[in-house]
Amino acid sequence: MASSRRARPLLEVRGLRATAAGQEILTGLDLVVNAGEVHAIMGPNGSGKSTLAMVLAGNPAFTVTGGSVHYLGEDILALAPELRARKGIFLAFQTPMELPGVRNSEFLRASLNSIRVHRGLEEMSFREFGKLLKEKMKIVKMQPGFNSRSVNEGFSGGEKKKNEILQMALLEPRLAILDETDSGLDIDALKLVANGVNNLRNPKSATVIVTHYQRILDYITPDRVHVIMDGRIVRSSDSALAKELEAKGYEWIRDGSSDTPKAVAAGA
């Protein structure tokens, strides 16, 4: 689903380097994602998958030491995390945080309204928001009771992940990054999550799925699959690559990783 030569990529990462606690984790990563695409980023533990997700979202615990990230043509590396969020970048967390005492609905409304105000829209009233939320909750089959509970407090692992997908559905991001959202999910929850992602698929938005396993890719067919190792993308191909990884493991790539990572950019 390569876009036309002239279209500007939704996300363009060039030579990205980043450290956490003084240790280099991303070592020159390139990635180009066009609107309308779904990309899967796969790799063994410790390869830098989650770091990439965090750096794109602007987590201050990580320091960018080189390279560039352009989103819709804009250099976003100097932008505060909340500004990136308001511009349409969404991160579904691998470990969603608990906010004791903060009602889920209150949190979601504050989030939606901050994004609406940024886009020049009016804040949504309690009533309007209530209706919208009810609608979106159907996507992940959440019980209405969830929203009077505190954000993620006492939620099971699966419930937390569903709550992330609910937020994604509500905020309708241009770029959704799912950081191992599939890990620890049973098959039913996995289908709901996949359903949420497929629902969001549209020509203007893109999704990056960061995952260790190809299991979720049985339900979401990615346009591109990338393998990340030692902090950079070492192989990119179509969805067949995921199956191959499943069968052969990551070491197979490492053994023959003479391919140049430059082959990534779809349609370039």
Binding site: A57, G58, N59, P60, A61, A80, P81, E82, R84, A85, R86, F90, L91, F93, P96, M97, E98, L99, P100, G101, V102, R103, E106, F107, A110, S111, S114, I115, H118, S150, Q167, L171
Partner: protein, 480 residues
Amino acid sequence: MTTSDLLPSSDYKYGFVSQVESDSIPKGLSEEVIRLISAKKGEPEFMLEWRLRAFRHWLNVKDQEPTWQNVQFPPIDYQDIVYYSAPAKAGDGPKGLDEVDPAILEAFDKLGIPLEEQKKLSGIAVDAVFDSVSVATTYKESLDKVGIIFCSFTEAVHNHPDLIKKYLGSVVPYSDNFFATLNSAVFSDGSFAYIPKGVRCPVELMTYFRINSADAGQFERTLIVADEGSYVSYLEGCTAPFRKTNQLHAAVVELIALEGAEIKYSTLQNWFPGTKDGEGGIYNFVTKRGKCAGRASKISWTQVETGSAITWKYPGVILQGDDSVGEFYSVAVVNNHQQADTGTKMIHLGKNTRSTIISKGISAGQGNNTYRGLVKILPNASNSKNYTQCDSLLLTDKCGAHTIPYIEVHNDSSSIEHEASTSKVSDDQLFFCMQRGIPSEDAHRMIINGFCREVFKELPWEFAVEASKLLQVSLENSVG
């Protein structure tokens, strides 16, 4: 009335002073002063006798100011305090609003507590106490209709002496503690409420305490009696001007719930906390206690303590009647140099009595916050239960939080549960909120409010909104 000792304006928006002519007596404490206060109020003999008994007891204990609390302050010179200061026109209590000094009405207007008939708060009857003297009580007529007495303490002494004689000091005797003894000797006014048998009070009752004058100590007494099967929700609010000197506020509150009665007592304490450098502020040394005297009665304290340089108070419940219930919900905030040592006492005497304690301490700046609580279950209080939860939230590296629970159980059919936690707002929580478009400052606010939710939900709705705003103001610029 001087304004020379006023501090420059700060975030505390209630720091103004009203130009009100006051009737004050000279500084110092003596038997003559007690007699003078009593005479000024035209009190009956029994009241003077009671004051004198308290004063004589105080003479015995005057060198025994409590020292066990985890707060620090220079010695208080009890001879350097004015023990009686009243707005000059108040005389012995309000008669009609037209007799109240317009400057006082304006002050209450500014505080958001209009007293005039046309402007009065809907659904809340207010007893307005200005410098320890009740200046006006709203909604009096509609309360009269259902037999509810709600008036200043002074009026109650004159008009309902039997009730005062019966209940005054029945929960907090004048010998209870140093500050309660002092209060019993010199108290100037306060509020009194009596809810007759089976009556559910149709409005919230509220006492709004306003300190205005400079050198006066503030000593009010509140007494609330809920007769069998009655219900009342009572609110208390407090503010004071910002002054360089510390002012002593030593109040006493007594609650009595007879069989099947319920009293819900809510406080928003917003006395001037002092400046960022710890200058000035109120010493809030208060004794509050309720007695569940009858079977299946219930007393619930909810407090949001954001003000005062020092807070020292332990609103407790004596669970005397079988099946009675005591509750304590508290948010205590310290910022800058504020100190708080606060908690509760739950004394289980009756069988199947239950108590719940939820304490939320928030520390910021260099503030020091201590929860101190006593749960005592006596031999006859079989099958009694207590649940205590003490949570502390630390917002800076220089602040402190301490939890000191005392637990005594004297029978083996009762149970006690105690949970405690200390937390910070984590970077991961903040990043999570920011990734959802919510800036750090709003995220802090949301997380802090969430921390207090269990307590705020116990407050009447308007009070809860006010409490949440107060919390924001108290903690402004203290985080992130």
